[in-house]
């Protein structure tokens, strides 16, 4: 009996109390399938294009301020599993994107390239994460493509 209790206490130490409490819930949740839809935030032309190829929830956003409001309301909607934002727009709302990504399970936010800005330029968020985790700046060696 004592050994069992000690084992539990050890588990609580390792996982932390909240995670320990959450654990039973997670075990039930595992493998459950949920469907969700995709939304796109883009400039007018790109949004039209995405609507045409089969993503109906493509929103045309011209000003960054409107984009932030729209993104916030999409994030509140449980319906969406993925929100894609063009890089040109995303650059203006990185902090909102980070907040949503850190606090919510859903929707996931993906930054996609816009016509003139490729996303391989966008390394800042992940570098920031690494800096926070390791405590020092780590330069990721660029891997040779092919």
């Amino acid at each position: 009996m004592g050994g069992l209790r000690r084992g539990f206490v050890l588990t609580v130490y390792v996982l932390g109390f909240k995670a320990f409490k959450r654990l039973s819930g997670d075990l039930c949740l595992c493998g459950r399938l949920m469907a969700g839809s995709i939304a796109v935030l883009a400039d007018r032309d790109t949004a039209t294009m995405f609507r045409l190829v089969g993503i109906r929830n493509s929103f045309a956003v011209e000003e960054p301020e409107k984009g932030r409001e729209l993104l916030a309301s999409l994030a509140r909607d449980e319906k969406y599993a993925l929100v894609m934002i063009t890089y040109a727009l995303a650059a203006a709302m990185e902090s909102l994107i980070a907040t949503i990504a850190e606090r919510q399970e859903r929707p996931l936010i993906a930054v996609i390239p816009s016509r003139e800005r490729p996303i391989s330029e966008r390394i800042a968020p992940i570098r920031e994460l690494i800096r926070r985790v390791v405590g020092v700046e780590v330069k990721m060696a660029k891997q040779p493509t092919r």
Partner: protein
């Protein structure tokens, strides 16, 4: 702080200290494994982004061609009649005990094969169309990878905090209590020893006084 100075308490604290140390060791092991996992996800992001850039460049190009071929009005009109063709299936899995979603692209079954009316659309559109599915799959895995990296980072921070708490607060506190109790116990032991010696001496003196 009131510490009970008993042998029982000493045993209890010593056991607690061992437990805390073992917890700390386990945590730091978990931390290093998580760190490796985190880096493998973080490293995957760059190449994925390049791949997506490349895929979308192709899509944008063929869409531009289609727009030119169809004319802007037609293009926009066709976009209004299109139906939703893709959905996402979300499944929960755990990476190192951290719950994360796994996304899979789902073709919606009720959607017709081609979501736009065939009249007045161009072949470049079909091309963009087939490419998009691949591109979306890549985007999903990018979103997922970024999400997992972020969650692992959060988890790592939490573990770091917990290790620090154990290392710098809980374990030293338990140790100082153990030392305190040990000191007090040995102090009382010495006192008792000295007292018995004293009593013995007094008794002996009394004995010699009565015998003589």
């Amino acid at each position: 702080m009131a510490v009970k100075v008993t042998r029982m308490e000493l045993f209890r604290l010593a056991r607690q200290g061992l437990l805390a140390e073992r917890g700390r060791d386990l945590l730091s092991e978990k931390q290093s494994v998580l760190l490796m996992e985190f880096f493998s996800y973080a490293q995957a992001i760059g190449p994925l982004q390049e791949k997506i850039d490349w895929m979308f460049a192709g899509i944008y190009e063929s869409m531009a061609k289609a727009e030119m071929a169809m004319g802007r009005t037609n293009f926009e009109r066709a976009s209004l009649t299109s139906t939703d063709r893709f959905g996402v299936d979300v499944e929960t899995r755990t990476v190192m005990g951290v719950p994360v979603p796994r996304l899979r692209l789902a073709r919606l079954s009720e959607a017709r094969e081609i979501p736009y009316s065939l009249s007045g659309t161009s072949s470049s559109l079909d091309e963009a169309f087939t490419r998009l599915e691949e591109a979306l799959t890549a985007v999903l895995s990018l979103a997922e990878t970024e999400f997992v990296a972020r969650r692992l980072a959060q988890e790592l921070m939490k573990i770091k905090r917990r290790i620090n708490a154990l290392e710098h607060i809980i374990i030293p506190m338990i140790r100082s209590r153990v030392r305190f109790i040990e000191d007090r116990l040995s102090e009382t032991e010495r006192e008792t020893f000295f007292r018995t010696k004293r009593i013995k001496a007094i008794l002996e003196r009394r004995e010699t006084a009565t015998s003589s």
